[in-house]
Amino acid sequence: MHKVRLIIFALVLLVTLLGAFWRTVAIDRFPVHLSHDEVTQLYDAMSIAQTGKDIYGNFMPFIFKSVNDYKSPFYTYVTALVYMFFGGEELTIRIPGLVFGILLIPAVFIFTHALTKSTGIALLASFLTAISPFEIFFSRKSFENGAGILLMVTGFMLLINFIKRRGTIWLYGGFVVLAAAMYTYFSHAIVIPLLLLSFVFIFWRKLNLSPRQLMPVILVWFLMISPLLYNIVLNPDTRQRSKDVFIKQDINLGEKLRFLEGKSFASILGYKTLIDYSFNRYLSQLNPQYLFGFGLDLTNENAVNVGLLLLTTLPFLLLGVIYLIKKKNFSGEKKFILSWVLLGVLPSGLTFEPFSPHRSIMAFTMLNIVTAAGLYLFYINLNKLKLVVRGIVLSCIALLFIVNFLYFLHIYFVNFPYEKSQWIHYPFKQVSLYAWSQKDRVDQIIFDPVFGEAQPVIGTAAHYYLAYYGNYPPASMQKEYRPGFRPREVLFDKFSIRKVDWREDHSLKNVLIIASPWALPMDSLPKEKIEKTFYFYDNKAVAFYAIKL
């Protein structure tokens, strides 16, 4: 028995190491550039660690204004802790995501084992977690959701253990960890209470809790989440954030609602339209093309893209569903798994983007567990076949997995930077480093962040990029940062980040203008004044010109 446990431990460790390898390999180079989310969180974390305030001078904020997208605070605070140990390297922002992503692998093993009581399924689930495109992608891109999922699976694992072992510590542990998970990401703040409620409802008999046992736990949980609730309900910034991402911001829905204006029952029909639209969006999250085809959106061609899950796992996911349906004495667990998936995609269905996988990661983690059950069922049935046939079938499946995984690696490491460099603000780093190198030569540096390969887009977080890559002290940023009077203008130090209007700006003296071809009159631009050209990742398309006046 001891030997078996040792083997299982070794296997989990091996799988974790495999996952750790794919999460950390070339992490300093891929993604090829810090995204605007990463740079803002890193610089705010540095600001918090050094001054206790964000760059706008808010003391220990509950929500970070950042670039007016009001980010949830968890990841920034964790990064502030990492910063104290590792300093302000680019890698610092990626460390928490990596750590949570790697820890999730054994956590999924323990959780699945507790849920299904099957070591085989648990091992396969942790293996799938280790190699899933979405798990690897989000672990490498400094994303807070990973911490939330880790806490979620841990919390529910503790509660399942409470059912089995009846120790109060499991019960309290579960509720406390789940309360902490709610702070990691806004979608978790919505989903976890609902999931907890369904857990209690589904396992009510097995939980066998008297009101005297339950009330103190709920009280502790409620006390823990009350600051979060307070902020969600009363903090205007948090409310603004919720409003900004709510499905009502969708243009198509807005058009449908406009058709109702001035009609009888407009208000009731408006709600009906909203429900119809949200319901459709919610169900769209289960689109197989999205799950297996283009969910990660790493290229500019939907058809040749990467899904959240490996395509090879599709038949095993279906087998997993069959396995779970047929499994005896598993009714509660079945319902819980179904609730997890259905509630997990809820936030994505209520927001304005057609697909927002980062809000639904928890559902995909559970889909991996279901897939693991399918793989397990397949393996069991395979044992009925002759050894040779079994070998051939297993080899074919292994080959399919390898090809599918290689495909993901190729897209991630090779094509993704080419296809989407603009979306991670490439080459804002190069622009920032160059701007700082020229700072002493000029009186002012004007940066217009409008850029784009196919169409113009306003790049956000330009002041964060400039400040971070110039090692600009956050304390100075808090004092210096101010809005200007020109369109889109913000200022600090010698930098003015704003719209460039060449008709007026061409007459400026001793100024460095950095702007894209979208913002400059390319026909009349004096070519001799272009000091440097910045390209997108493909080194062909021009992103910005630096012009010395």
Binding site: K256, F259, L260, K263, F265, L269, K272, T273, D276, F279, N280, R281, Y282, L283, S284, L286, N287, P288, Q289, F292, G293, T299, N300, E301, N302, A303, V304, L311, V321, I322, I325, K326, V403, L406, Y407, H410, I411, F413, V414, N415, Y418, E419, D538
Partner: protein
């Protein structure tokens, strides 16, 4: 129990009759209807061809069954849009009744038979398609009839043969599905026949399919028609470009070229097509939004009301749990009936999944039967309520689909026809998708265009995506036409779209006599009485 069935049928009939003029016809539906009128009265189609087997539409060729079916009905009941709608209403009801019979082959529970029929009767998609001429609903009826014939105790080969031919002459997608559908049905529902005999009996359907497709391939533009409408996945430029681009990026990055070739190649069409096929059957299509254009269904509903998703999931669970071989066969049947959707990329193909709807209804019915009585009643009530609300408040759907179902065009067409009796008419060709079918629909006049007196034949023999630009005294203005002043004898009344109105140069008559507005309140047609000619 039969009382329930007839009550459901009557209620379904009622649902099909309320707001009977909704939805307004699209240009193609108007073309099919007007063609049926000319076929029944003159024996020729809208292009003057005598009893052809291949017809014209804006996007593709059309097969003959639907057009001749309507013309037959017009012969019996007269020339009106109402008569056409009634025919399709009856087809919709026929599908309900056949679903009741087909359900008996899958489940022994009588309740599930009635519920299957009920669910089809109350499917917004079937109701919608029961009001407009379309091949999807005819094909569904025929496939159900074929299934019923194939699974009856006494196998009537004459019936099977006749229905199979009708199926093949209804829709091109049937050329792909008929043989596997027939074979699978025989394999799993005819225990009295040996496998060899079943394969032998399936052979005629294969031969018939090949023969029909082969005949079609004799038409000059048939390959183009296939590639543009049925297999456009394989000519999707985005996929080819992406494959080449990604290989190039791999080379630039120093990755092994062989690996890039192994990972990015034409095999990519396999997963792309497969996922696209499954996407056509995703829950959002079934219970969220069947069609986002308003061409194939209500835009705020899926195939069924939202509440039906609960029994659907319960039905899936129940079928998988029971593991009964015959009920399980419902899944391959659904997949076989819908697989042509895999090749129509990148948009979803709502009409291609319509033939599978009766089988999906059976799954929901099985799910409903597993629910407690109270929940059952609640779900059924919610299904009916949502449908009733959507059919009552159809204004939003009318507005959303205004571009392809231009309900405001009748007034314009009426003005054009009235004016055409006394003078020549010019009409912008972008007012709607195609305006002449609407004109043809409203007038008793028939003028065969492009008729070559010398050879005694129409010039356009196989009209692929053919757009008629002249109809008697009515001519269309294209984007390549320019406006000029007119001579004394040439005086046109002109119906202009915004595009053409803006193109009228200074100095020419721009005085608008009248304007026509669409349902969104936007000006769509401007009438200029005289002084404009085109060259």
């Amino acid at each position: 129990m039969k009382v329930y069935l007839w009550t459901a049928v009557l209620f379904a009939l009622f649902l099909r009759i309320i707001s009977f003029d909704f939805p307004f016809f699209t240009a193609d539906e108007a073309r099919i209807t007007s063609r049926a009128f000319t076929l029944s009265s003159e024996g020729v189609d809208e292009l003057g061809r005598r009893t052809p087997l291949i017809f014209n539409s804006l996007n593709d060729y059309q097969l003959p069954v639907v057009s001749y079916l309507i013309s037959l009905e017009v012969l019996l009941f007269g020339k009106s849009q109402l008569a056409v709608r009634i025919l399709f209403t009856l087809i919709g009801l026929g599908i309900s009744l056949l679903t009741y019979l087909v359900a008996q082959r899958f489940v022994a529970n009588k309740g599930a038979w009635y519920l299957s029929a009920f669910l089809i009767a109350f499917s917004p998609v079937i109701i919608f398609l029961s009001r407009v001429p379309n091949e999807a609903i005819v094909l569904t009826l025929l496939l159900l009839a074929l299934f019923y014939c194939l699974t009856r105790d006494r196998l009537s080969w004459i019936a099977v043969f006749t229905i199979s031919i009708a199926i093949l002459l209804t829709s091109k997608s049937a050329w792909l599905t008929l043989t596997p559908f027939t074979t699978l049905t025989l394999l799993f529902f005819r225990d009295d026949l040996s496998k060899r005999r079943i394969l032998f009996l399936s052979l005629p359907s294969l031969l018939l399919s090949l023969f029909t497709a082969g005949l079609f391939l004799q038409i000059p533009q048939s390959t183009r028609s296939f590639m543009e409408n049925n297999f456009n996945l394989f000519s999707e430029p985005g996929v080819f470009n992406a494959i080449n681009r990604f290989r190039g990026q791999g080379l630039e990055s120093g990755w092994p070229p062989l690996l890039a070739r192994a990972l990015f190649n034409k095999l990519a069409f396999l997963p792309i097509g497969m996922l696209h096929w499954l996407a056509n059957l995703q829950p959002a299509v079934l219970f969220g939004q069947f069609d986002s254009t308003g061409r194939w269904g209500l835009m705020s509903m899926g195939v069924w009301s939202k509440a039906a998703i609960i029994p659907f999931v319960a039905g899936l669970f129940s079928i998988l749990k029971l593991g009964d071989k015959k009920i399980l066969m419902i899944f391959p049947l659904i997949l076989i009936l819908t697989y042509p959707a895999a090749f129509v990329y990148p948009k979803l193909s709502p009409p291609l999944i319509v033939p599978a709807l009766p089988f999906l209804a059976i799954i929901i019915a099985i799910g409903l039967m597993t629910m407690k009585r109270l929940f059952q009643i609640l779900v059924v009530f919610l299904i009916m309520l949502e449908l009733a609300v959507n059919l009552t408040f159809i204004e939003q759907d009318i507005k959303n689909a205004d571009k392809i179902r231009p309900s405001w065009i009748s007034a314009v067409v009426s003005d054009i026809i009235t004016s055409s009796h006394s003078q020549s008419i010019l009409v912008s060709d972008d007012i709607v998708e195609d305006i002449l079918p609407f004109v043809l629909l409203e007038t008793n006049l028939f003028i065969a265009p492009k008729f070559d007196q010398k050879i005694g034949k129409v010039i356009v023999e196989y009209p692929y995506k053919y757009r008629q630009i002249k109809f008697g005294s009515i001519s269309l203005i294209g984007f390549d036409n320019k406006f000029t002043t007119c001579g004394r004898e040439q005086q046109f009344k002109t119906f202009l779209s915004l595009r053409d109105f803006d193109r009228i140069e200074e100095g020419l008559n721009k005085q608008v006599l009248q304007q026509y507005y669409d349902r969104l309140g936007q000006s769509r047609v401007m009438v200029v009485e005289k002084g404009l000619c085109i060259k």
